[in-house]
Symmetry: C2
Subunit: 139 residues, 2 copies
DNA sequence: GCAATCTCATGTGCATACAAACGATATGGG
DNA sequence: CCCATATCGTTTGTATGCACATGAGATTGC
């Protein structure tokens, strides 16, 4: 007498993650329309760590080699990053922030923090901390 | 004396959501390679609600009109759903599960539930419930 | 010192995602 | 009845995101 398993889509973690991400990205796009959230992550990492090889930058921002290439290309087209050959390793392409990229990041930090806050606004402060802690266990 | 705001990318909700989603999708793809997680959501909704117009189906699965069209096209190409003109409203395209689609959903439900469980495996049972509850407040 | 192996960047193909514009069709108000 | 408005499906353009393949270059083991 096996019960047929009930599948409630709205309670599946994957579906919920997708919808929460959609809401977050809508907030991000409205508040920081100059760059995408992925591009912003790249600017943040370069600002934090300085110049990195393209693949390393991808690993530090959770993107595979194909994805980070496109993101860097689009950031370079906007003049926010620049690339240079690595003299020590001819395979490597070093990516660094331009002045414009550094300036955009500096100006945008407060707004980006507001984006995170606005995403979490339905939660109380302890709930926000708890959510972050739980999500970080799932990475 | 304004403190420069500290921006820790790894603690931003958007970045964490993206990484958790990546891990979840990797698990999904490994366990249910026949369809994508988005396609699975469509099968689940059609199984739950029966035939729906394409745009309505999109709204019920959190996809805009352009996105749901592509998903339905690819599911139809695999013979998992079929489309038919609505006699009452010539604008509408009714999407329904085929026998193969219904069968795939029925066979896959247990696996899909395992995907959700495996995604949440680093958490205890109360933590899982709490995470879901918190995320649902953010939709 | 050199061959097997690895890494890096690149390219292609496929699958979401969303904005914007479009033509066809419904519908409601006057 | 007719017009303004809304909805539906479609297309195009841009941006992730991953799998897979490839060629150039680095590294390691023996």
């Amino acid at each position: 007498m096996t019960e047929r398993p009930e599948y409630v889509l709205d309670d599946q973690i994957g579906y919920v993650l997708r919808r929460v991400t959609q809401r977050h990205l809508a907030i991000f796009t409205e508040r920081l329309p100059q760059v995408t959230s992925v591009q912003w992550a790249v600017l943040a990492r370069l600002s934090e760590l300085g110049p990195l090889s393209q693949n390393h930058l991808g690993r530090m921002t959770a993107m595979d080699a194909a994805t980070i290439k496109g993101v860097v290309d689009r950031l370079a087209r906007q003049g926010l990053v620049e690339t240079a050959a690595d003299p020590n390793d001819k395979r490597r392409l070093t990516v660094s922030l331009t002045g414009a990229g550094a300036a955009l990041f500096a100006e945008g930090v407060a707004t980006a923090l507001k984006v995170s806050a606005e995403t979490l606004v339905p939660l109380t402060a302890p709930e926000r901390a708890q959510l972050l802690a739980l999500l970080l266990k799932l990475v």
